[in-house]
Symmetry: C2
Subunit: 476 residues, 2 copies
């Protein structure tokens, strides 16, 4: 990769002046913001990390403007940082010093809902919630959903392969993308706006841009697959004796309910107690069970599915996999159960400053993993509280640890080394859904072999030979 | 790409002698078959196309042998053709003259079914049916299914991104692959045996080998996702007045049945008549309706779902989308209905020699497409019979045309030009599920832009700089 000119922006060098002039000439002077005209909000993402001052900030209105901007930066070999809604947690969209930032926020809007094909076509800067609502109005479900839905953008969701609560049934963002329009580093536009589920006319190029955090190309439009609309859910909060029972219930429920389980959120006792004490959430079940599962089955006919859903729980009670269960009798009940899972935000406050892990494992390893992590906490950090929970139906474990002591950085480093060490040993991933960005770059090698990292770099060189796209993110 | 030495195998040149010697040294003499020791069956795939005589034929027993063979060929810049079960229909695995063929057939076996993680780990040469049966014994469904299940291999299914009958519910082969082991052109082994649904630790490298027909690397092992096992299906044969009704029924059924439709096979009248006359299949409904749909809903509880399934058809009858319907009351009924759809083989005989199209379209375009193709047949080929059918739930249209006249090649070229011309105009794909191989290479540009084709070549050069992997397939 390339060493970029260090950018002392108070006395811009000749190269920077040339880039600015070329951008102004290509896009119009008013379209190129610099210095104090760049709002502070574009300098940080939801991880709180503050970036450096960019050379210029662009908000193109059309794909051709993105192409022009990239062509200029390619010619001048100048770094570019693409930005979506800046809700990421890995630093992937945070500006590096002196870069040209391209925000997609003005390229927003639903272009089409194709009812026959069950697809929605959107511009990359469209907020996820806007796309969800357009799908719902047409009777469909845009299955991607995450807490940041009001702020995050579809292009950013795709660039980071966003996950969320419904992955167990509908997959990751990747699984919903049928077509993409991408601008390559040199400004070439790739029109890959496929609407077909079946298309084997050559390699699936679009897949290579998904989850690459803006390092391989800039996503400008997308065709997403829509699923059948749902009218509600059957929801239960379930207490279980051990992790093996969590697995047995999951597999039994999936089989009996024909794969319709749409959320299977596991909370270990420490999480449940924290949520119902520090978090202030009502406890629908006693707080002394080892594990809790929030199970949800969305469908067109929740009332018609109630007997089947209850029968699964009854069987699990008989088998001893389940110790107690509360089935939601109303939307209000279901909201209460979900409040437990959604109380993470409150707990992040209560235990601040926290360290938050987003890791994944083969489901068969998760029970062992939590035991190992607890042992680490007991031995190395006995005074720090840890809460374990996650989208276990798809292998995703979250751990919130806090409050961190004053020597925060030292503790953080030790804890990351220990946790990611367990991740490596058990064949897990150091990033389940948040991506690598800059925050997890030191640990990429814990989940990927050297041969894989070498190949990532080789592909990067093929797609972006001058290394201008989001340099320093994912790999060096 | 590289020009390989022309190989007059009767008088092998010095380079060929050196390659053979190096392979024998690396793998052992008995492992390198040449000349008459190479069975004729490895020279052709199910399209009937006969390839050329290879220099050598290898059947490695382990990944390290694949790696050694590729390292030799890479060093000597010698072409390699990877082979699975040779059931492809696009010529992708057919040997080119003088190549080294690597068959995966001895690397066969199920390594593990992980019940907790719902995954199966197999060697690439494992027949699909063997993997399906191992999944079923463990209570799961390996959802990939196609007619060639007994002969095709999982590695080949992944290399060609196989489709089949259940794509509407479970997706293509790509959607079932969680992890892969791949050997690169230079012999480097990429261990990407991920078991997690959620893993965002850097770019999804494995995805780039799926559907690339052996041109980017050789797949040696795979982790596949398993779905919940099913115990049976609700099945109906349905008569409809027009294509718009086909779409309305599809969307209504998917919504009411919460996405559980597992097959939605459409047969136009000409297909249905041919199947029930030339094909000799019993006709459960009169043969004068414009369109027929075979709709299937697999689940854990077909009896419990019967009322819901019937209610969908009743509503559709009331709306006028459906003119008549027969609901299977037994497995025997369901088998009869499926015999209609599966009678393609008999019809290929009755109308031989045939030309068979495998194209896909946005579902919204399929009605128009069939009208256009019929017009072409009427105007250009009035004496040739055409039958339209397909997995319309996922956009896939098949057309069988025959018998072709004696000047077969001229007619074939004219018909392909006309059909693929319509495909291009309507935003379709020249290959829905069969791939490009050599047969469809002339038409790749009908479905992909020049920028995309250029990028395919760029990626190929990055992964296989000497161009040794399956040269001449997909692109030149």
């Amino acid at each position: 990769m390339t060493d970029f000119p260090s950018s002392d922006l108070d006395t811009p060098n000749a190269a920077a002046v040339a880039v600015l002039a070329a951008l102004q000439s290509a896009l119009g002077e008013s379209e190129v913001l610099v210095g104090a005209a760049i709002s502070d909000k574009y300098l940080r993402d939801w991880s709180g990390k503050r970036g450096e001052m960019p050379l210029a900030f662009l908000r193109p209105r059309a794909t051709e403007d993105v192409a022009k901007a990239l062509a200029v930066c390619h010619t001048h070999q100048w770094p570019v940082v693409p930005q979506g809604g800046l809700t990421g947690l890995a630093g992937g969209a945070v500006p590096s010093a002196g870069a040209v930032v391209i925000s997609l926020e003005r390229m927003s809007g639903v272009e089409e809902v194709d009812h026959a094909s069950a697809t929605i076509t959107v511009l990359a800067g469209t907020p996820l919630q806007v796309a969800q609502e357009a799908a719902q109005e047409a009777g469909f479900l845009l299955a991607l959903d995450l807490g940041a839905r009001g702020s995050c953008q579809v292009g950013g969701n795709i660039a980071t392969n966003a996950g969320g609560n419904r992955v167990i049934r509908y997959g990751m963002a990747r699984d919903l993308v049928l077509g993409l329009e991408v601008v390559l580093a040199d400004g070439t536009v790739l029109p890959m706006m496929n609407k077909m589920v079946k298309n084997n006319a050559g390699p699936d190029l679009k897949g290579f841009f998904i989850g690459t955090e803006g390092t391989m190309g800039v996503i400008t439009r997308a065709v997403l697959r829509l699923h059948a609309g749902v009218t509600g859910a059957n929801t239960a909060l379930i207490a279980l004796p051990d992790f093996n029972s969590v697995v047995l219930l999951l597999r039994y429920a999936q089989q009996r309910l024909s794969g319709l389980v749409s959320a299977y959120e596991v909370m270990w006792n420490d999480y449940y107690r924290s949520a119902t004490t520090a978090g202030g959430i009502r406890a629908p079940l006693d707080d002394d069970y080892p594990l809790y599962v929030l199970m949800d089955m969305q469908s067109a006919e929740p009332a018609g599915n109630a007997d089947r859903f209850d029968a699964v729980l009854e069987h699990a009670l008989e088998q001893g996999w389940v110790l107690d269960a509360a089935v939601a009798q109303s939307q209000s009940d279901a909201d209460d159960f979900w409040a437990l899972r959604d109380s993470v935000a409150e707990m992040l406050d209560s235990y601040a400053p926290t360290l938050n892990f987003d890791i994944s494992f083969p489901i068969s390893q998760i029970g062992v993993c939590v035991e190992r992590l607890r042992q680490i906490m007991d031995e190395m950090f006995p005074d720090i509280h840890a809460m374990y929970f996650g989208h276990v139906g798809d292998g995703n474990l979250h751990v919130v640890v806090g409050p961190l002591p004053d020597d925060r950085q030292q503790t953080q480093r030790e804890m990351e080394e220990a946790f990611y060490g367990v991740t490596r040993e058990l064949g897990g991933s150091v990033s389940a859904e948040h991506g690598i960005g800059t925050h997890k770059k030191p640990y990429l090698g814990h989940s990927r072999s050297q041969a894989e990292v070498d190949l990532i770099k080789r592909m990067k060189c093929a797609l972006d030979p001058k290394g201008i796209l989001n340099p320093g993110k994912i790999v060096d």
